[in-house]
């Protein structure tokens, strides 16, 4: 199964952790950040007719979540090629 000579499991796992932390930082910023903690500040701006912080809480964060997961799929496939892991 895993007898490929070039498999670098340690490097793969370290890179996975870095990617995961980056994505979770974005996840935190768009929901807890933009939608809750900095909402009052962001509400002075508007997207269409909606206050920006409110929009992030009810729409924007969800769109970003979808993007994050698909980026993760894509980036993990790249890591698997780079470290010789069979995905």
């Amino acid at each position: 199964m895993s007898e490929k000579q070039t498999t670098d499991a340690k490097g793969y796992w370290a890179a996975t952790i870095r990617l995961t932390l980056t994505l979770l930082a974005i996840w935190f910023v768009v929901s807890y950040g933009a939608g809750i903690l900095f909402r009052d500040f962001l509400d002075q701006f508007a997207i269409g007719g909606a206050p920006l912080g409110f929009w992030f809480a009810q729409q924007g964060s969800i769109y970003v979540f979808v993007g994050l997961i698909f980026y993760y799929c894509f980036a993990m496939a790249r890591l698997e090629r780079k470290y010789g892991v069979e995905g």
């Binding site: 499991a9 929901s31 809750i36 269409g48 809480a57 964060s61 969800i62 997961i69 993760y72």
Partner: protein
């Protein structure tokens, strides 16, 4: 009425047809649909599994009255999928077994840990399923003139058919059909309402657009209308920021820890497929979750427009003649949808100033008029098509959609309950030599028993009326007890059995006690721990539970080498090997 019957019968026939086609032949089929469901298909099934009667029927109505405060549900119930995708799903798939207690019991090499996980899973699932059955009863009794209990029994028979026959395989493919029904049923009225209120057919754009034919945004207009009546601005909330933060957290981490969601990711062929599957699931969920806030705002506008300052017509008067008289005199008669729903007791009007006109006001009304109208938030999704005067078939469609949402979630929960009994308790703990055929028979029996228990719970709980309150349990318990041990089990090799058992027990008992005290034991909000309401407490206790698990693990012996090797394996796709004590009694299923 005729349209409703038509849609309900057609969709039910479809579900039964799928059940017969997708019968399960082995325990592999029964628990995890043979591990070979396509990621997109699984994503759609996960979306239907996840979106319950609460998402479909109650959420938009809650948002309509909570405004910004309703955001906790939107962010909480979608953000959890990011956690699932990057922290749990691919690794649990790589682990390669059937259930959440499988993972906990094997990773922590302990039948005690397995049994505690079973208790958490059963508690969460039964809490949740009672609400689904109640939703089925409401839809039947409200629209088809069937008795509430008979409605629940009809729902039970349908679920019995595909869950007991088809197991996870039958459930998966019926959930796909149910997703199509529910999303169509949700978006059609939303598009109509968006067109009427904002002139834009796409609800997500109408939400941020201008009110139809006016030079003011829909949301600013709504803010103006509600503050004039003495309510909080729609885009604000009176909850504290920390409480909003904690509730969102409990819902997110709770979502990621819910067993009926996690087991869906065991059905795909590989870790890679599990990642994609989470992405697809969230796309399908987002289709409803980004529509819901628009529906909420539109519903609030429609409600105020049609009800506030309308002249009431009593049941003794002839509605048509009286309504014509009122209109002639330049007044607004109470709408027919209001009279229909009034019979259910979910809308109440008390004429406090004796003028026969319905004043709808908030707590700080500038004109000092007292509020006379009390709507139940749960009715809005069902009543919306009538409020917006949409054609009869739209109403029938919405009823079929609500039933699809409730039945698909109920089926997913039944799978957790039956596998906990037949697999985790019987096969893995009590009778370790049980063969596959016997286990499949026990699993079918357990599913059948669970259907009956769930139905009785639905019938019984409708008398108590406690379902809405105990839903907080499901998320609180999942986030405080299951999430930390699963997460640490993957990301921290040093986590051992002692740490896991203490962490789960602490999460279970503390969250349970807090919720019971404040929901049923007479606790008052000024006693809240750091101002956190029972809905959000799971988030706080999750951190304590994780910290306890780490502390106890460090103070006791590290886990055996077999276990540490197992953790290494599940982190890297394609390297999973059986490891002595970690897999004692059952070999892992290979990835594709």
């Amino acid at each position: 009425m005729d349209w409703t019957l038509f849609f309900v019968i057609t969709t039910f026939a479809l579900y039964i047809g799928i059940a017969i086609w997708a019968r399960a032949g082995s325990t592999d089929d029964f628990y995890v649909a043979g591990h070979d469901v396509h990621p997109t298909v699984n994503g759609m099934a996960t979306a239907a599994d996840w979106m319950s009667a609460a998402s479909f029927l109650s959420m938009a109505g809650l948002i309509a009255f909570l405004g910004y405060g309703g955001s906790v549900y939107l962010m909480g119930w979608t953000g959890g999928y990011v956690l699932l995708a990057v922290l749990l799903a691919p690794f649990l798939r790589e682990f390669g077994k059937f259930t959440v207690p499988d993972f906990v019991g094997d990773r922590y090499y302990s039948d005690l840990a397995r049994i505690i996980a079973v208790i958490c899973a059963l508690f969460v699932s039964f809490t949740y399923i009672a609400g689904q059955m109640k939703g089925v009863g409401v839809a039947f009794s409200g629209f088809l003139g069937v008795d509430f209990n008979v409605g629940i029994i009809i729902g039970m028979v349908i679920v019995f058919f595909y869950a007991v026959l088809g197991g996870m395989k039958g459930v998966t493919y019926t959930q796909v059909a149910q997703y199509c029904v529910l999303i169509f049923a949700y978006t059609v009225p939303a598009i109509f309402m968006s067109l009427i209120i904002t002139g834009n057919p796409i609800p997500q754009l109408g939400f941020i657009g201008n009110a139809a034919g006016e030079d003011i945004s829909m949301l600013s207009k709504l803010n103006g209308v509600v503050t004039d009546l003495g309510f909080q601005e729609y885009t604000q909330t009176d909850k504290s920021m920390f409480d909003v933060f904690a509730i969102t957290g409990a819902l997110m981490f709770g979502t990621a820890g819910l067993p009926h969601v996690i087991i869906r990711f065991f059905t795909v062929p590989s870790a890679k497929a599990a990642r994609y599957s989470a992405g697809w699931a969230l796309i399908f969920i987002a289709a409803l979750y980004t529509t819901a806030p628009a529906v909420g705002a539109f519903a609030r506008i429609n409600f105020i427009d049609t009800v506030n300052e309308a002249t009431y017509i009593t049941d003794e008067e002839n509605y048509e003649t009286r309504a014509a008289e009122i209109e002639e005199a330049g007044g607004k008669p109470v709408p027919t949808w209001y009279k229909t729903w009034e019979k259910t007791g979910l809308l109440q009007y008390g004429d406090k100033n004796g003028d026969g006109i319905m004043q709808y006001r908030g707590p700080n009304a500038p004109d000092g008029v007292e509020n006379e109208v009390n709507p139940n938030r749960d009715i809005f999704v069902l009543a919306n098509p009538q409020i917006a005067q949409l054609p009869g078939w739209v109403i029938g469609l919405v009823v079929a959609g609500g039933l699809a949402a409730a039945l698909s979630t109920a089926a997913g929960l039944l799978m957790v309950i039956s596998s906990a009994v037949s697999h985790d308790i019987c096969r893995r703990t009590l009778f370790k030599n049980m063969d596959d055929k016997t286990e499949l028979r026990v699993a079918r029996g357990a599913a059948a028993g669970a259907v009956v228990a769930a139905g009785l719970l639905g019938i019984f709980s409708s008398q108590l009326g406690f379902v809405a309150q105990v839903v907080a349990f499901a998320f609180g318990l999942a986030s405080a007890s299951l999430f930390p041990v699963i997460f640490l089990g993957i990301f921290w090799k040093r986590m051992n059995k002692e740490g896991a058992i203490v962490a789960m027990l602490f999460g279970l008992i503390s969250t349970f006690a807090y919720i019971v005290y404040f929901k049923f034991g007479g606790g008052t909000p000024d006693q809240y721990f750091f101002g956190v309401s029972p809905e959000g407490i799971g988030f706080v206790f999750m951190w304590v539970s994780g910290a306890l698990g780490i502390g106890i693990s460090l103070a006791t012996a590290p886990p055996p080498q077999d276990i540490q090797d197992l953790v290494e394996d599940i982190r890297v796709p394609g390297t999973r090997q059986p490891h002595g004590i970690a897999d004692a009694g059952m070999a892992p299923a290979p990835a594709e």
